[in-house]
Every structure is written in C-alpha cells, then in structure tokens.
C-alpha cells in the first residue's frame, strides 16, 4: 500500500507537469493546428527567470510573476514574429518553425542565464508528509493543486467569457469564426500567450522538486507532445488525462517493471492505445466526407 501510494504520488506530480505542457500544446493546436514544439521552453523560462530574479533579491511571488510575464512576452513574440509571418504554410513547415524557435530560445537562454542547474526553495518547506507510510513532498501538492487550478480556471474562462467563446469558435471552425467577425489572429495570439503562461507556471511550481536549467525544455516538449497525443490532440480534457497517465505509466513502470525501460513501457502503451484508438483516448473521430 505504502509503495503503491508512493508510486502514485510520484506519477501524479510528474504527470501534472506533462499535463500542463500538453494543455499548452492543445490550446495552440485548437486555435491554429500548429503543434508548438517550443512549448517546453516556456516551462524552462518559468523556472529560470524565477530562479535568477529570486537570486537577485526579488521576493519569490514577484519573481514568479515576472517569470510568467517574460514567458508570455516570449510566447506573443513567437506568434508575432515567427508564426504569423509564416501564415498559410503547411503544418509540417510550422512545426519546423517552432523547433527553430525553441533552438533560438534555448540558445539565448544559455547566454542570458548559464549552463548550471538551479533550484528554488520549496514553497512550504521540505519536510515530507506521511500518508499511510508513503512520503509526500508538500511541493508535490503545490504542483497538483496549481495544475488543477489552471485546468479549472481555463475551463471556466472558455465557457463563461465571450473571448473564451471566440477561442472555442475558432477551434471548431476557423473560417466560420472569421465570417462572424471573430479576429482569429487575436485568438491565436491569445492562445500563444496563455500557453506560455501555463507553461511558465508549471516551470515555477515544479522547479523546487525537479530543478531546472536552460536545457530542460526539449524533453518536456517531447513528453508533453506524447501526452497530448495519448489523450487525443485538440481536447483539453484529453491533454490533462494524457499527461497524468503518462506520468503514472512512467512511475509504475519504473517501480514495478524496469527502471531502465520505463520510458519504453510508456511509449509501448501509447502505441498500443493508438493502434486501438487511432484518435487518442478522447480525440474526435473524423469522418471524411467525399
């Protein structure tokens, strides 16, 4: 039981971060069909900016806010200077644009910051909580709670606000949205901004547990992408589900099967799921009309 709980919490914490990255993928994908491989860099920026601001004497909450603002600025610039000018290019071309952008962001980060690893103090101390024999870090609860808040908040925003409705309309049918007067360019810019903020938030929450460096973005983008696809791309609930599942898969595979091949177990499961459900767990089934 203790072991199960331990693995569960390990998986949930890592999975929450994957979920936030996957959510970022999903938001941008919904608004534009672009798979943004620079998504992981937002997580990196969230962590690194907070660390450096904090070390420079800025109080932690302010440093975190600054990090979110920096990430949003980068996200909006990414849209304005790379995605927008490439409008109308094929999906694969846009993916390469985002990959180029992520190399660029990383390249700048390694100069502005440094190549060392960095930590942040845990928000509520390092003393683990004991639960039925399992040890849980308070910061894990921050990560889980933060991720849950983001998911709920985003959902409310999408359903309760006019702009949220515009985003949903654009996701459902871009052309129709434009016809009813929605500025889809602004919607897309917004999607980049919010994705960046979500990513940065994830980075801030998780840095006390996982540490950060200029290079953490690549791996997160890869895992987040896999999680988004497992859940079914374009579906926010699917993204969260995919992220959490991926985290749990890795954790339980490492604990029960083989720590060497835990990533292999995760990907084999993803492959099997896709063979059975080619649209992911919650993806829309497309009927081709001819």
């Amino acid at each position: 039981m203790a072991e199960f709980l331990q693995l569960l919490f390990a998986g949930l914490t890592v999975g929450a971060v994957y979920a936030l990255v996957a959510l970022g993928f999903t938001l941008i994908f919904q608004a534009s069909e672009v798979v943004n491989f620079a998504q992981g860099e937002f997580v990196m920026l969230g962590g690194m900016v907070t660390v450096f601001a904090f070390k420079a004497g800025v109080p932690l909450p302010l440093a975190a806010l600054l990090a979110v603002l920096v990430a949003v600025a980068v996200g909006l610039s990414l849209h304005r200077f790379a995605i927008e000018p490439a409008k109308g290019a094929t999906v694969v071309t846009l993916i390469i644009v985002t990959i180029g952008a992520s190399i660029f962001i990383r390249g700048i980060a390694q100069i502005v910051f440094d190549k060392q690893f960095h930590a942040l103090p845990a928000f509520s101390g390092d003393e683990p909580l004991r639960l039925l024999g399992a040890a849980i870090l308070p910061q894990s609860l921050w990560v889980l709670g933060g991720a849950a808040l983001v998911v709920v908040g985003l959902r409310l925003f999408m359903e309760r606000t006019l702009f949220g409705a515009a985003v949903r309309a654009t996701a459902a049918n871009r052309l129709a949205a434009e016809l009813v007067g929605i500025d889809t360019r602004r919607v897309l810019a917004f999607a980049f901004g919010v994705s960046a903020a979500i990513g940065a938030l994830g980075g801030i929450l998780v840095t006390p547990v996982t540490l950060t460096s200029y290079a953490v973005g690549t791996l997160l983008a890869l895992k987040g992408f896999a999680a988004a696809m497992l859940g079914g791309i374009g579906n926010p609930v699917g993204a969260v589900l995919g992220g959490v599942l991926l985290g749990l898969l890795e954790s339980f595979a490492a604990g029960w099967i083989s720590s060497t091949y835990k990533d292999a177990v995760a990907f084999v499961v993803i492959l099997l799921v896709l063979f059975a459900l080619p649209q992911g767990l919650l993806g829309r089934r497309a009927i081709e009309r001819v």
Binding site: I96, G100, I103, F104, I111, F225, F267, L274
Partner: protein
C-alpha cells in the same frame, strides 16, 4: 523526352559535377569529411523525402533506422565476427524488415498521431542501444573495425568522400526513378487524397508500407556509412534530436523535392561548421536561421527559389 526525364538528368548531372568539383575546390581532409557527412545525411534525408514529401507520411523517429544500420555495422564484427560491409548490409536488411513489421499498424495513423507513433519507435530504439551496455557499449559507444575490401584497407578522407558520393548518386538515381514510376505516382496520389487513390485501385496501406520500408532502408544505409566513416558509433545516432534534424533537412530543402532533400542536408550539415564563427551565439543563430528560412521560403529552399526564379523571369 518528358519533363520528368529532363529534370532527372539535370539533377543527376549537377550532382555528378558537384562530386567532381568539390575536392578540387576544398581538398583538405576536413572539408572532404564534411562533404562526406553531407552525402551521408543526404542519403537519409532522401529516404525521408520519399516518405514525407512524396507520400505525405511524417516520421519523427527516423534516426531509429539510422541507428539500426550504424549499430549493425559495429555489432556484426564485434559479436559475430562478420565482415563490416556484410554487417552493414544485414543492418540495412534488418531495418527494412523492422519497418515492414511495424509499418502496417503505425501507418494506419494519420498526421500528428503518426508523428507520435514514429517518435515512440525512435525512442524505443534509442533506449535499447543506450541500455544494453553489454551488447552495444552503451552511451560511451562502440568501435567499428576498418573496412577491408579484398585485402585493400579502405582508409582516407578522399576514399570515403568518393564512396559516399557514389552511393548518394545511386540513391538519388533510384529515388528519381521511383518518383517517376507507377508506384511513385501512386504515392503522390495518396498524399493528396487517400480516398481517390484507393478508388483508383491503389492499395493505400501497401504503398505506404512500401515507401516506409524504402525510407528505412535509405536511413539504415546512411547509418552504416556513417559508422564506417567514423569507425565509432554512439547512441546519439538514434536520438530524438537526430530525427528532428533529418525532418528539418527535408522540410527546409523543400518537401516533395528530391533535390531539396540534398540541399537541406547540405545546409544543416555545413551550417554548424560555419556558425562556429559566432561562438556562444551558435545555437541562437542556428535557430534563427531555421525560422527565417521557413518564413521566407516556406515551401523550402529548392521549390521556393524555383518559384522566385520563375516569377522573376515572367516579370
């Protein structure tokens, strides 16, 4: 002569001239090595261009096949006492078989789902070569014995430049032949509309599988050559970043363009050597260059420049 035949002869001719001229302009061993790497990367990119450009199927795990070719070339001599060349051919064959076995379920997936499935495939290969230290040497890599052909030790940058160049020329010729054949037309057709292709009598699943196998074989061949050239293989050949690099070569050169794959491979292989000039800013500049190329030549370099050229002539 059909337009296809004309462009076929033009490209092969240009490539042949290039192969002869480069050593005259840049005779140093360093330049010849970079050129040989360009040829090798171009072979892998060619296969991917057939898969992505011709048939419209994405692979984000193509480095996995590169690694199978490379590791076979290293492992055959080490564990089975095989000749390196024979091992390499076995590796190419094995990559083809693997592609054939996993291709059918994977290629049922479309778009981004196909991308993530191939990504997973690449990662599985990478994990195996990283983890099975006793067999593959793990992250520290494994030596490849020197190639000996009929008692002749194949050594020296000029020789490898020539070998890889000739293989590329053959690979290009074969790719062009495929493009301009019934199968090639079928692949291009299913890229645009799988439904119309099927109704025209094309077995879509079979053709996707076929081009997947061809692309895997090209990649494994490139991997084997890389192993023989470097005489050393590490799991980096199988890494996700290597897969991304291959895709970038194809896209930046121009999807659907055989010449584009070669240009893209040349660009992404030579660029890092040129960018050392920028020292710490190398990566920032590389990323920026990729973004700019894609924004201003969104169809890729070869089709993009061809378009500009055609427009310029008309104006």
């Amino acid at each position: 002569m059909t337009p296809a035949t004309r462009s076929k002869i033009a490209l092969l001719g240009t490539l042949a001239v290039l192969l002869l001229v480069v050593p005259l302009l840049f005779p140093s061993a360093f330049h010849l090595r970079v050129a040989a790497l360009v040829w090798i990367n171009a072979i892998a990119a060619l296969g991917l261009a057939l898969l992505m450009g011709l048939a419209g199927q994405v692979s984000l795990g193509h480095a996995g096949f590169l690694a199978i070719g490379a590791y076979a070339t290293a492992l055959g001599p080490r564990h089975l006492g095989l000749d390196p060349l024979l091992s390499m051919l076995a590796g190419v064959f094995a990559a083809g078989i693997l592609a054939f076995l996993v291709g059918r379920p994977i290629l049922r997936l479309k778009g981004h789902y196909l991308a993530v499935a191939t990504l997973g495939l690449g990662i599985l290969v990478h994990l195996v070569v990283v983890s099975e230290v006793a067999i593959t040497g793990g992250p520290d890599g494994i030596q490849v014995p020197r190639l000996v052909l009929f008692g002749w030790r194949v050594v020296g940058p000029e020789i490898w430049y020539a070998i890889t160049g000739v293989v590329l020329l053959l690979a290009t010729w074969i790719a062009l032949n495929l493009e301009d054949s019934s199968t090639g037309r079928a692949l291009r057709a299913l890229h645009d509309s799988e439904i119309a292709a099927a109704v025209a009598g094309i077995d879509v699943a079979r053709h996707k599988l076929l081009v997947f196998v061809v692309a895997a074989v090209y990649a494994a061949l490139a991997g084997g050559l890389l192993a023989l050239l470097n005489r050393f293989v590490t799991p980096d050949v199988a890494s996700f970043l290597r897969s991304i690099e291959l895709v970038t070569m194809v896209v930046i050169g121009g999807m659907g363009s055989i010449a584009g794959a070669i240009v893209g491979a040349a660009l992404l292989t030579v660029l890092p050597q040129l960018l050392t000039f920028f020292h710490d800013y190398e990566h920032a500049v590389l990323g920026l260059a990729i973004v700019l190329f894609m924004v201003f030549l969104r169809q890729g370099i070869v089709p993009g420049l061809a378009g500009l050229f055609a427009r310029g002539r008309r104006a």
